[in-house]
Amino acid sequence: MTFFYFFAAVAVLASLLVIAQRNPIYSVLLLIASFGALSGLYVLLDAPFVAVIQIIVYAGAIMVLFLFVVMLLNAPHEETEHDERVHPLLRPGPMRFGGLLAVALVLELVWALVKANESGRFGSAAVSSVATIGRLLFTDYAFAFEVTSVLILAAMVGAVVLARREEWR
């Protein structure tokens, strides 16, 4: 349980800092930390495969991509004059509204949980081996698997096309 609280605290704290930081590089790095905590949670949930690919794919690939883009664009710091003084929840316009809505959302979700009244205890040992997952992927979910590969192909092509530098006439 202590592990759970530890990992949970790290994840929440890191996420909060992600959205609180002004420097995008810091945000990315903090998010990596958050992913790490989540990976630990997956291990606690007897899902080693997911934990590992979380690190490899998310933290290792996607976040690195974000880092590359941030550094490529040389993203400037966000405007500071207003931000420093004002709490995020008090900033004007959709920001304030969105923030309040997020709080409302949390409350609602918790309320849903209370209403659902899950017993909560986990049952017997879960199925967790990589072999089992692999077998399921290539039999029951084979179609989704293949379609996903097409999806990745499309994403690759799209990203290349979109980011291409236009020829200037």
Binding site: M1, A8, A11, V12, S15, V18, I19, P24, S27, V28, L31, S34, F35, L38, L41, L45, D46, A47, F49, V50, I53, Q54, V57, Y58, I62, L65, V69, L72, L73, E78, L89, F97, G98, G99, L101, A102, V103, V106, L109, E118, S119, G120, R121, F122, G123, S124, A126, V127, L136, L137, Y141, A144, T148, L151, I152, A155, M156, A159, V161, L162
Partner: protein
């Protein structure tokens, strides 16, 4: 100490999701907004795995596998679009991109 229950995981995931949502609205940097979306997706992943474990099947993990793949693709394409936008306007503030208005 008792092991964590399903409710604990679900509450955690709800909190993480709300943080991601708040991030979308509060930040003024498009890239950070995309990061917040990743937070949301991760919260969802956690929910799936928790339920998979509670129901004793591997389906939760399979879904997470696909979610991650899609998230990767979406991040790639989204970042490409952000690069394009930056080239046009030299700014990463989403409030500057308001041409499609009345």
């Amino acid at each position: 100490m008792p092991s964590p229950s399903l409710n604990d995981y679900l509450v955690l995931s709800a909190i993480l999701f709300a943080i991601g949502v708040a991030g979308v609205f509060v930040r003024r940097n498009v890239i950070t907004i995309l990061l917040s979306i990743e937070i949301m997706l991760n919260a969802v992943n956690l929910t799936f795995v928790a339920f998979g474990r509670a129901l004793g099947s591997a389906d939760g993990q399979i879904i997470v596998f696909f979610v991650m793949t899609v998230a990767a693709a979406e991040a790639a394409v989204g970042l490409a679009i952000v690069i394009n936008l930056f080239r046009h306007k030299e700014s990463l503030n989403p409030d500057t991109f308001t041409e499609l208005r009345w």
